[in-house]
Amino acid sequence: MINFNNQIASQRGKFQAFPFHLVEQSPWPLATSFTLLTMALGAVAYFQGFPFGGELLLLGFVLTASVMILWFKDIVIERTYLGDHTSQVQSGISLGFILFVLSEVMAFLSVFWAFFHSSLAPTIEIGGTWPPVGIESVDAFAIPLLNTILLLSSGAFVTWGHHALIKGDRFGAIVGTFITIILALIFTGLQAFEYMEAPFSFADSVFGTVFYASTGLHGLHVIVGTIFLTVAFIRIVQYHYTDSHHAGFESAILYWHFVDVVWIFLYIFVYVWAS
């Protein structure tokens, strides 16, 4: 323990004068660009049935995941082992993430716009009704209702985990976050099951298109949120988070609640109202 007055004050000039974190040169942004390009090209090649499209997609996934791990590792080192994240840096990260979530809200807004454009005044080509003539929609009070319950309870469990961490209850933080991740995985599994069992495909009229585009985009966000929460979970287990400095966990929680709210809208409009 170093006393501020005696030792730090005399060495103050050896630290940087300002509280902000000027990041160092890093290869990961460029590397991420190339791995994402690989993944996008692989996805297109796979969907279009080109030879080795699936392999290229898999390679893109593996490379992207690898670069993510290396980049996250650097940030964890800067935050936990080098102490670069002063309170000003923390509020910058939190504000940046809030703005990112706002942009996500706008992305979903456009998807919902597409849904309402097609469903509120169904054209004559699809029979003037919604769902279109000949389309059998998913029963909203079967798996989708179970998924609603799963996501809402996971929101409660992540709040338990968060407040346990703030209170210094390590056991509660670990268990609460772990149950959240398990519920998230069950949700993704049930969505995959529902996709396989659904009586219509992506190509079955604008109904199929807008259904899979909206629920699929949401599903991708659930997967990303699960990864986000898993990273936070690992960092809780590894003693990285303190009771007052855990901006990464709080961002994951914000993201998870956002995914939760989007699902509520999806459930109400795409599942219940549209069937």
């Binding site: 170093i2 501020f4 509280p19 160092e24 650097d74 210094g168 009771d243 400095h245």
Partner: protein, 154 residues
């Protein structure tokens, strides 16, 4: 406090960590700052987390974050982010002191009493006697807090 010893104390919260890893000071995979920076800031560490408990910032924080925390605990804003409060007009005999860890600091003068003229930006420098506002005559002088000859990036 030695960097290596301190690194181990931070790692002591992680019982399963191998010694070889614990003895290695924390660096990023590809870091350029160590080559660019002539001297590293001193390593400051807390006791680290106790096994099975959520650490507090005081136990866990290190580096700049810890410097800020230690300052806050004594009511000191180590980054001096607030405005320079003048309690009187600076004169040639008794200039307004501008504390700085750098050999130069830019200071904005809007008069005495405050806000009596538009902002005028002046450079308080270690290399000149004082800096005087052409608008109101306020005198500023750099109060150099760093080490003489410590950082030279000219």
């Amino acid at each position: 406090m030695l960097g290596l010893r301190a690194a181990r104390s931070l790692r002591s919260a992680l019982p399963k960590t191998k010694n070889a890893v614990a003895l290695r000071p924390a660096t990023r995979a590809i870091a350029s700052s160590s080559r660019l920076r002539s001297e590293k800031p001193p390593a400051i560490y807390g006791e680290g987390a106790k096994p099975g408990e959520v650490p507090t910032d005081f136990q866990q924080a290190t580096g700049l974050e810890r410097l800020q925390l230690l300052g806050q605990m004594e009511g000191v804003d180590v980054f001096n982010t607030g405005p320079l409060i003048m309690s009187k007009a600076g004169t040639l005999e008794d200039p307004t002191l501008v504390p700085s860890y750098s050999e130069e600091r830019i200071v904005g003068c809007n008069g005495w009493p405050s806000e009596t003229h538009d902002m005028v930006w002046l450079t308080a420098s270690n290399h000149r006697e004082n800096s005087r506002c052409p608008e109101c005559g306020n005198v500023f002088k750099l109060q150099f807090l760093g080490e003489a000859g410590g950082h030279h990036h000219h």
